[in-house]
């Protein structure tokens, strides 16, 4: 490879947040190539992208862009060099018009007045490049469908000269014709010598559009191959690696009791469809799959945090007589379902509140007398007890929980539900962002709950955790169930194959919502 074909060279890149995310990663991108980046959850794709475009700075390692050391301190630094990223989440201003969104960086005209006709003209041209020429540039972006918004986002990036383009799941919300248009544009950019990093779960697309494919696993580059020389099985094998997993606690496995909850044909538009599964008393059912495959949305719908559109949840407590579709968590909790949410800080904890405030919130009614005065002595005793049982480290029970480490915060959140003592418990990423020791303790806790005869569902993006903690695993892929497995015999290849299954086939249904 000669110097002038090499656009970006990454050597020995390390990035550590709480845990190492990228470890001695090497990666090259040529001019005029589309380079697909693949890997399972947490392999490091996003972190690598974020470092290239200046959102994060590396812990260690060298990046070279166009032969010069590349150390962007901010997104702006990277943008000045012609590096752009289209994120999965949209960064548009919903109440501004298409034209204003597209021209946002160059709004100011003479004396600070906006030249609307010039803006409109520019916007029309940009819209043409992404096949949206029939849209009125004055339309507010909020009136567009998700797919159209995604294309606007792409058009916005393409409006400026670009040398390196990163696309993160750009086709997730697009229809087939829109995908074709996008690919035409990408081919044009390739001819102009732009280097494109293309992140996607969709095997068929990647094999069609990309020149080379790189596979990341556990923060390392495991292979870079020409797209023509590699088949899907090899890709899956490379993503999987050969991670050894051991059961954390086999004592209670296989001792499951009767069915505790039946989920029947549950659907929520745009999130998951037609999911049916049973959970037994005394078992842990693991849900695997990629982030965004609808796992979280499924549990939230069972719990009533979001409302399902169709299907039902039936419970052993009423002999499966009633078909529930819970509209509030309150109703699900009184029917015996608890849920430890994924977003600990945003939706779980009261960060300025104390350990006591955070743990006892569901138990206050039981702790209070006829005048609804809380028995604080009893409350403190209860909280101190469970904190000791879960080995939560704190200085005083009344200090703000934000002072505690992530692991202890997570244990406190779990403690809230253990105190409530419900027969069915749902865990969404129960050990995200906690240290190894807290993680092990959390796994033990989950097994203990099953051993006590509770029905437990656990979502996890970590294969080891999923296999270690579950009695049974189901995998979700693109909103659908893609198989059920026994963790004792499940291989990581099988798990990944199932996770990617429904992303591989092009979506035939017309997904675009029109205004």
């Amino acid at each position: 490879m000669t110097e002038n074909t090499l656009l970006l060279d990454v050597q020995g890149l390390y990035k550590t947040f709480a845990v190492p995310v990228l470890v001695d990663l090497n990666f090259t991108l040529r001019r005029g190539e589309i380079h697909a980046l693949m890997g399972s959850n947490g392999a490091g794709k996003s972190t690598l992208s974020n470092i290239i475009c200046g959102i994060h700075q590396p812990t260690q390692g060298n990046l070279t862009f166009e032969g010069k050391p590349h150390t962007p301190g901010s997104v702006k630094d990277a943008e000045d060099l012609g590096i752009r990223m289209v994120m999965q989440e949209l960064n548009l201003f919903p109440t501004l018009s298409i034209a204003e969104n597209l021209g946002f960086k160059h709004l100011g005209g003479k004396g600070g007045w906006i030249n609307h006709s010039a803006l409109r003209e520019k916007a029309s041209k940009a819209l043409e490049t992404v096949g949206l020429a029939d849209l009125d540039p004055d339309t507010p972006v909020s009136e567009l469908g998700v797919g159209q918004q995604q294309l606007i986002e792409i058009a916005r990036v393409l409006a400026d000269p670009v040398k390196l383009l990163i696309l993160d799941e750009p086709t997730a919300a697009l229809t087939d014709p829109q995908i074709e248009l996008l690919f035409d544009q990408l081919n044009k950019l390739r001819e102009q010598g732009v280097g494109i990093i293309y992140i996607s779960h969709r095997m068929d697309e990647i094999r069609r559009i990309s020149d080379r494919i790189s596979i990341l696993r556990d923060g390392q580059l495991v292979a870079t191959e020409n797209a023509a020389d590699i088949d899907e099985d090899t890709i899956v094998n490379l993503m999987a690696g050969n991670v050894e997993h051991q059961a954390l606690d086999t004592d209670t496995r296989g001792q499951r009791g009767d069915i505790a909850m039946k989920v029947e044909n549950l659907s929520r538009k745009g999130a998951f469809e037609d999911v049916s599964l049973d959970v037994h008393q005394g078992e842990v059912l693991g849900i695997g799959g990629l982030i965004g495959s609808g796992r979280t949305e499924l549990l939230r719908a069972i719990f009533g945090a979001d409302v399902a559109d169709a299907g039902s949840v039936k419970l052993a407590s009423d002999n499966f007589q009633q078909a529930h579709r819970f509209t509030t968590p309150q109703k699900a909790i009184s029917a015996g379902i608890g849920m430890v949410v994924e977003d600990r800080k945003g939706q779980g904890l009261h960060l300025s509140g104390s350990l006591i405030d955070n743990m006892s919130i569901c138990k206050l009614n039981d702790l209070s007398n006829g005048l609804s005065v809380v028995d604080t002595t009893e409350e403190e005793k209860m909280v101190a007890n469970i904190s000791e049982r879960l080995a939560i480290k704190y200085t005083t029970l009344s200090e703000p929980i934000s002072n505690l480490s992530g692991g202890n915060q997570q244990k406190a959140l779990i403690a809230r539900w253990l105190l409530k003592d419900l027969p069915i418990l749902l865990f969404d990423e129960p050990s995200r962002g906690v240290d190894a020791r807290a993680k092990a303790r959390i796994h033990d806790l989950i097994r203990e709950q099953a051993a006590q005869g509770k029905a437990v569902i656990v979502i996890s993006s970590e294969t080891q955790e999923l296999m270690g903690v579950s009695d049974r695993i189901v995998v979700m892929s693109n909103g659908k169930l893609a198989g059920e497995f026994d963790p004792q015999t499940l291989t990581e290849e099988q798990l990944l194959e199932a996770s990617f299954r429904f992303y591989s086939k092009p979506q035939t249904e017309h997904k675009e919502e029109t205004a």
């Binding site: 719990f303 945090a305 509030t328 968590p329 309150q330 699900a332 909790i333 009184s334 849920m339 949410v341 945003g346 939706q347 779980g348 904890l349 009261h350 960060l351 300025s352 509140g353 104390s354 006591i356 405030d357 006892s360 919130i361 569901c362 206050l364 009614n365 209070s368 005048l371 609804s372 005065v373 809380v374 604080t376 009344s398 809230r416």
Partner: protein, 325 residues
């Protein structure tokens, strides 16, 4: 200090406010020979009952990260209803009193229900109610002040042995009960929890809408009570009463250290905030400070109080470092 909520660093905070209050009293006593006297004390104490109970309601509303701009108008409407019932319809006092409370309660429930049920900012809903209730009070009184004379005098008149009015005693009782509810009961915990993370409350199986409506209902009810106190104090129902009172109440609550973004606050401290404002107003008046200057000074004090509250931890650290050095 047991009545203070342990999740708030109250003792220190309350003591700070009491310190400011004492400093103000000493300052005005030194500046004016008339300030430190029974007469001043009684005048002051008889002015504050309405503002006190309204500030209590406002504390609850701010705790759940809401705001209630309608309390001044609702107070006027309730006083107008009570006054008309007594003056024009010869209702017995207690019936007219309950009518006033009922009107306040209804206004509060409406505020709470509309804002919580349909997720409309309470700022907007209560701004609407501010206009509606003001219009209502003009309608009820026919835009005239209703003079009641002695019928309601006892509410505002000093009780012989104590030297303070029934209204003030009632208002202080409201403060104590409201603080106990806040720091001791499940409802109090829920208010703080809703103020810190409403979604977490919902996902804990508690219905935040119900409790938010309850809070606004209490604020409305207390505005009604304030209306009755105001009636007793003025011995008349003035449709223009309480204009801008919502802002005085917010100022008092904020001086008391309650956070506008919810989740942190104390009723007792709001009461201290009311006292600080009242002492300043009376003291400045006795010094012969003009009305415009009074308002400018009050405004500065409000901003200074919030600044201090916002940065009290860095400040405390700063002084600690100084004393260590």
């Amino acid at each position: 200090m047991q009545i203070f909520n342990r999740s708030i660093k109250l003792p220190w905070n309350s003591l700070g406010l009491i310190g400011v209050l004492i400093a103000l009293v000493i300052f005005f006593s030194a500046m004016s020979e008339y300030f430190f006297s029974g007469v001043t004390f009684r005048t002051l104490m008889n002015q504050i009952p309405a503002l006190t109970v309204i500030a209590v309601g406002m504390t609850y509303v701010l705790l759940i990260a809401g705001i209630d701009l309608s309390v001044g108008s609702v107070m006027a409407l309730c006083a107008a209803v009570m006054g008309v019932m007594i003056a024009d319809f010869q209702w017995p006092l207690f019936l007219a009193f309950f009518a006033a409370l009922a009107v306040g309660l209804m206004a509060g429930i409406t505020n709470g229900f509309v804002s919580a049920r349909w997720s409309i900012p309470s700022f907007v809903v209560t701004l609407g109610m501010l206009e509606i209730a003001r219009g209502g009070s003009y309608l009820v009184t026919g835009s005239e002040t209703k003079y009641l004379g002695t019928a309601v005098e006892f509410l505002g008149a000093p009780v012989p042995m104590l030297g303070v009015s029934v209204s003030l005693i009632a208002a202080v009782c409201v403060v104590i009960i409201a603080q106990l509810v806040l720091s001791k009961t499940v409802f109090g915990r829920y208010m703080i929890a809703i103020g810190t993370n409403e979604e977490a409350v919902r996902l804990s199986g508690i219905n935040p809408v119900f409790w938010k409506v309850t809070v606004f209902a209490i604020a409305g009810l207390l505005a009604g009570l304030g209306g009755a106190f105001q009636l007793g104090y003025l011995q008349s129902a003035d449709p223009n009463a309480g204009i801008g009172l919502e802002l005085s109440a917010i100022a008092a609550v904020v001086i008391g250290g309650t956070s506008l973004s919810g989740g942190r606050g104390s009723v007792v401290n709001s009461f201290l905030g009311v006292l600080i404002i009242a002492v300043m107003q009376t003291g400045l008046a006795q010094l012969g400070v003009s009305e415009p200057a009074k308002r400018i000074i009050t405004g500065l004090v409000i901003v200074a109080a919030v600044l201090f509250d916002q940065y009290r931890e860095p400040l405390a650290q700063f002084f600690q470092r100084k004393s260590n050095a």
